[in-house]
Amino acid sequence: MKKDNAVAGTDSLIRELIAIVGANSVLHKYEDLLAYDCDGYTIHKGLPRAVVFPADTEEVSKVVRFLHQNKVPFLPRGAGTGLSGGAIPTGGEVIISLVRMNKLLEVDFPNRKAVVQPGYINLKLSNSIAHKGYYYAPDPSSQQACTIGGNVAENAGGAHCLKYGVTTNHVLGLELVLPDGEIIEIGGVTDMPGYDLPGLLTGSEGTMGIVTKITVRILKLPQGKKTVLALFDDVEGASRTVSDIIAAGILPATLEMMDHTAIEGVEAGNYPVGYPQGLAAVLIVEVDGIEEGLDDQIKQIIGVCQKNGVREVKAAQSEAERALWWANRKTAFGAMGTISPDYLVQDGVIPRSRLPEVLGRIEQISQESGLRIANVFHAGDGNLHPLILFDSRKSGETEKASRVGSQVLKVCTDVGGSITGEHGVGIEKKEEMRYLFNDDELQAQIDIREVFNRDNLCNPDKLFPVAGRCVEIKRAN
């Protein structure tokens, strides 16, 4: 068997970590670390120095304090389903895994809030309060596996965020361990005066500390729900439908779209709907709210679809049918495995009205590069997920996929959009931050980070362009 990690000083580091959390809660052998060298983003890989599994906030604090004192970098990790590499080590960080802090601590129905530990799985919250008629709104497609702690770090979205907002709109308060080990609580009261600190922390991608407790808003389940499936022969018709629905004054809970390559993937996957051949695009539109009035909205939506040359449009006839449409859509990323060994998913945001034009340009990039691109997206809020299909076994193809991803993001920012809607910047889109911010703007953000994370030990090398090409070098001078 291979000898334990031979990095200088590692042995005493491991001993100290074991002293804090116990031997069953520290991984440090090469083979045991292998599975932690990437998350849902697989293009970049890096081995951690160790993985620790604290059981509570105190242990997180002790581990962080020890690492801080010894100037050892570290990063938090939830389920590892993130799509921008936020939980991937870049320089032998110690991973602090929060999966064993996975309890639902409190549900306060009268005040409509719940308190969870960071390792608690997103979908479990909705499942465990459904019997009282409540749910937790942010629903990333990975909700059956991803943790709410990870959702907070990435400010995760989901299909229903068009109407209900992303994670930050649902976080009321946080307990967090600062990068020096101090435990603090922020927020907790609705309309807390002063700066919106939970808002700042949500989406900070683990660069400001480690969240150990989250108070979230829970909502009453809508009285009714109606879902429409619309099949189109051309992307333009589908795109126009998206804009026209919103323009008609309807705010659907979801407005999802998949193009022909994406349809090919999901139909080969585990939850095929049985879409007819030769489709250019599929739209899933869901409206919810008070039962009366939903049928009118559905009628209106069907009308808009027909006006835009839909091939076929229908409302779900049963909960089973609706569930299948959603299972098919929500497993779309993973289903790409059936048509390609690897994919890189982008997360650009564009103004809805520019949809046909942007899709045209993405198609052009695909043809020029020779890499297929499947489009799955939250069309309603203009959040695109072009899935760039590639084969990492072919030499140079991984790099090409990265370049293509970058080109797609440039298109998004050129039309007045953004490089990420819900997946975060992580490792993946650090350089593309320059499409949106100049040096001064980047520096202003780094200054804010340093208020929390002075020594940049907590998830370093994420979110901002790397030193060498970046403002941080200017600062060092």
Binding site: G40, F53, N270, T331
Partner: protein, 471 residues
Amino acid sequence: MEQTTKKEGQYQSESLPCGQKSNFIWEDAPDEDKYSVCVHCGMCLDSCPTYQETGLEHQSPRGRVYLIKAVAEGRMNINESFKDPIFQCLDCRACETACPSGVQVGTLIEEARGQIHQADPPRGAKGAISKFFLRGIFPHTSRLHKLGRVTRFYQKSGAQHVIRKTGLFNILPSHLKEMEQVLPEVGMPVKASMPEVVEAEGEKRARVAMLTGCVMDIMFSEVNEATVRSLVTNGCEVVIPKKQECCGALQLHAGDRGTAKKLARHNIDVFLEAGVDKIIVNAAGCGATLKEYGELLKHDPEYREKAEVFSEKVEDVSKFLVDLGIRKPKGKVKIRVTYHDACHLAHAQGVRLEPRKLLGNIDGVELVDLPDSDRCCGSAGIYNITHPEMAGRLLDRKVADIPEEAEVVAMGNPGCMMQIALGIHRHQRKEQVLHTIQILDMAYQNERKQLEERLMQAASVREGSDTDEER
């Protein structure tokens, strides 16, 4: 056997694009086309019982597939850190239900175990025990029946009572000791007690063969009897091939692919010769394995196609009867039943609705929901013997989930039956464990009883009136 071993041992050196060599050097290496389907999305994570319990990435389906890939790419050796996660896997296939792109995790795990089995054959006491059972006992019907007879003697002669009293069992690990206590009363195996062909009742609707199974026929022969009776009642002519052997599932799960293939080839010949429409199985684990003979023998030019033909015919008894159109029993069974989904029925064969439909069709049966009914109970073949600690944790959760109002826990797999009976015993609960088909059979039996009673009544009435006339 000799020849097989030699073939299994052939060295295959595969060059990888990056110049590194795969550390899977034996035949039947985990298939690149299977693991490259995994895009590392993580949707499987929380479906995995061992991940739920440990939170460890390498004890998750995604992590295991990742390690298999690492060994295939030469970044990891086949050593303890590889063996442990691969063997901690329950092979329950819950991840296959969760996986968006249909990664065949179960088959990959079995192939990886095949490599481990050859790289590092099981040694020591554990190795000896597994060799004794998996190669020495299970594949040989006559030895298995002898073992059954010994157990029967042990139970009936009073030896069981004496041994329990004297505490002789205290030398066994506690989980085996407990298992002995819930051992069902061993009956007469159907393969020995029933004729090779059992005629259909009424109009013949199908000719089917039945896999009697090894554990099922020894430990739960009454389930096999109930299966034959239910099939016959539903117009099936049932062939019970006397030459059939163990299906090879346990060997396959342990990585002994050589023995599994040998058994598969034998069973294919025996069952195809029987000339039947369907091959009926009442043990979920066996059914899943039989359905995957095609996969197991995909490199065997002589058997590949035959195996596909064979696998096509395999059907779980509940699905078969529901598809055929079950004859509604006129007898009542007044019980509250909760149904546990055996992993190899729900996840491996996709059979979930049919057993519930079958039970719902019986008058008097009231179905109550079992939360997370398709989460593994920890039985998983011989997992509860090789990994008692993890199996025990899963069993505790399963028993805790059984709703209090349930009187019976029904399921379609002998391993689960033993395991859940053990859990019920351990937690001092009272529920009865039954195979789904036993409840259907009870309904048919009650129908018969009612009919007999009516006939008796009619006869006695006639007898009465006869005497009247005589007067």
